[in-house]
């Protein structure tokens, strides 16, 4: 024992000790980095969630990437959209009500007849949904109901609270009323649009909005038909109300773990509900200042197209799946818009490389089970170039799965939709600041090889040959089999 001590004492002189410490430090430091990574990977704060209030998650330095012109391109004369036919939810709903086998197209409203004559492929898809898909969905839903009971319960819970729908015309419902709101009917004299914008953004963040931006409203984005409070089928195209001068865009993300288990366990209802309530509250705040405000909220209570407004407001860029991709949340968010005459200073659009990235990435198109997302280049839609999404195919896939309302696979697989930890933040930084496109190419390649999903056909319900698959495993609290006896 004594000789051992002496040996150690002899070996561990100062230099020996420092060398041994260096070796031990290398091992401990490496282990520490591994644990750091592990904690960063599972840290709930990296979930890009709305829970971080008051703007803490709107982190991207937009000034560095701001541009004078938005990244969409106007190539022809713009026409406003007829939401009755071009918004799939409205068209499908009209189709279900008006289609009769005995009269066919002849029994439908003129504008629907015209639409289907111009787009017979959509008639085929709408008919397929009604006659084949829905009966199969009903049968499979009964069979596998228990498996998705918690996911559906969660979705319904998030959608359970909803403000009263707006049924009055804009000139009535948008303006403050002394009786109803108790605030001033004369507009408050605001010191400057800059200050007002700062105030509105702070309030939106304080209300729980993760993202907020402001745009001058481009009338091209307002529906030609219909408008809440103006009837569904007016004789003339609806004029854009004069007091819709600015658009405030707000957005909140969908909860991370369910979103990553799309299509069967995710839901849009959580972000829908949060954004809806924020928009109604912000509209109320503006009305209290004596100005007009109208919330346009998800799921379908819009009088305008939302994605281009988000682009105008500098929140992000419209990507291949047609929805907007933001630097902070990717496309994992659901927006709402407030139109107002409150004088504001609009934000500038941003260009952080999405157009270039989406041109070559195509991960969303590869993973889209329905083939709704195009592999091709942009096409002209109502005077603007954009990637075309076949919304009828998209909705038909929604009705080919048993989970809670919808699909959102294009959200889950998008390389921009990643947790806000060091790894993905670094990847975003590299991609955004590389002018050559090499980083995009490398990151897309790594994404495809490192984070693959199941074969897209497995997402379908069993009666359509699928396996009820999800992109990733559902979170423990949505696995019904662990809580409910079958």
């Amino acid at each position: 024992m004594k000789s051992l001590k002496l040996n150690i004492g002899k070996k561990l002189d100062r230099r020996q000790f420092l060398k041994a410490s260096g070796l031990a430090s290398a091992a401990l430091g490496s282990a520490g980095l591994g644990f750091f990574g592990y904690e960063a990977g599972k840290d709930p704060e990296s979930y890009s969630g709305w829970e971080n209030f008051e703007g803490a998650n709107q982190t991207f330095n937009r000034k560095r990437k701001s541009v004078d012109q938005p990244t969409y391109e106007k190539v022809g004369s713009a026409t406003r959209p007829d939401a009755r036919t071009e918004v799939i939810f409205q068209r499908r709903s009209l189709f279900m009500r008006q289609w009769k086998d005995e009269s066919g197209l002849e029994g439908m409203d003129d504008y629907l007849q015209e639409y289907y004559r111009n787009k017979p492929e959509d008639l085929e898809l709408d008919l397929y949904s009604m006659k084949e898909l829905m009966p199969k969905l009903m049968a499979d839903s009964r069979k596998y109901r228990d498996k998705f009971l918690l996911a559906n319960a969660w979705s319904n819970a998030m959608g359970a609270v909803s403000p009263r729908p707006i049924n009055e015309p804009p000139e009535k419902s948008d303006f403050p009323s002394q009786r109803r709101f108790g605030g001033p009917t004369e507009p408050a004299k605001m010191k400057s649009p800059e200050l007002t914008s700062k105030l509105i953004k702070k309030v939106a963040h304080a209300l729980g909005s993760t993202l907020v931006g402001i745009a001058k409203l481009n009338p091209d984005w307002v529906y030609l038909y219909p408008m809440r409070g103006r009837g569904f089928e007016p004789n003339e195209p609806i004029e854009v109300p004069k007091h819709w001068q600015y658009a405030i865009a707000v957005g909140t993300p969908m909860s991370w773990d369910p979103m990553y288990a799309n299509p069967n366990y995710g839901t849009s209802n959580d972000a829908y509900s949060r954004s809806r309530i924020i928009a109604f509250r912000l509209a109320s705040f503006i009305k209290q200042l004596g100005y007009a405000a109208r919330p346009h909220t998800p799921g379908t209570s819009y009088d305008l197209m939302v994605p281009p407004i988000l682009v105008d407001a500098g929140l992000g860029e419209q990507g291949r799946p047609s929805i907007v991709i933001t630097p902070e949340l990717g496309n994992n968010f659901r927006p709402a818009i407030i139109t107002t005459n409150l004088p504001l200073k609009p934000d500038k659009p941003i260009d952080f490389g999405v157009q270039r990235f989406c041109k070559t990435c195509k991960i969303c198109a590869e993973n889209c089970p329905s083939g709704a997302i195009s592999f091709g280049d942009k096409v002209e839609v109502r005077g603007y170039l954009r990637y075309q999404v076949d919304t009828a195919k998209c909705l038909n896939f929604w009705n080919s799965t048993l989970g809670s309302m919808g699909c959102r696979l294009c959200v889950a697989v998008c390389p921009y939709t990643r947790k806000a930890n060091w790894l993905h933040k670094a990847a975003l930084k590299v991609s955004v600041n590389d002018p050559t496109g090499i980083a995009d190419w490398a990151l897309t390649g790594l994404q495809k090889r490192f984070y693959p999903g199941p074969d897209p056909q497995k997402y379908y319900m069993p009666s359509l040959g699928g396996e009820n698959a999800s992109y990733r495993k559902p979170p423990w609290w949505l696995r019904a089999e662990d809580f409910i006896e079958s």
């Binding site: 230099r15 420092l18 060398k19 041994a20 410490s21 260096g22 070796l23 031990a24 430090s25 290398a26 401990l28 430091g29 490496s30 520490g32 980095l33 591994g34 644990f35 750091f36 990574g37 592990y38 904690e39 960063a40 990977g41 599972k42 840290d43 947790k419 930890n421 060091w422 790894l423 790594l446 090889r449 490192f450 984070y451 693959p452 990733r472 495993k473």
Partner: protein, 98 residues
């Protein structure tokens, strides 16, 4: 906020890094191998890449992305080993004596 996301963690990592540098310096001195700035630079870059590899694996395990952890671990780990062996041979170069 847990320990591994805290400032204290990075402070301790910094101490470890200093000890590694001191240890390497003494080890090289004892063997009479000079360490010019370019060797330190290459060593620093390799440490950064190796650290990235370890943290990449840990992060993907934390994210429940086991496939990415394994594939990334193999790819970046292999690159680390190859670069590490090359670097080690470079570090051991002694000046030619007549």
């Amino acid at each position: 906020m847990n320990f591994f996301n805290s400032g204290l963690f990075w402070f301790i990592e910094g101490i470890f890094a200093c000890l590694v540098v001191i240890g390497l310096k003494i080890w090289m001195e004892d063997r009479g191998i000079p360490m010019p700035f370019w060797k330190w630079l290459l060593f620093g870059l390799w440490v950064l890449f190796f650290g990235f590899t370890i943290a990449f694996i840990g992060t993907n395990i934390g994210e429940n992305e086991a496939a990415a952890a394994v594939k990334g671990g193999i790819l970046f780990g292999l690159i680390s080993v190859i670069l590490g062996v090359g670097l080690w041979r470079l570090l051991l170069i002694r000046p030619k004596t007549k």
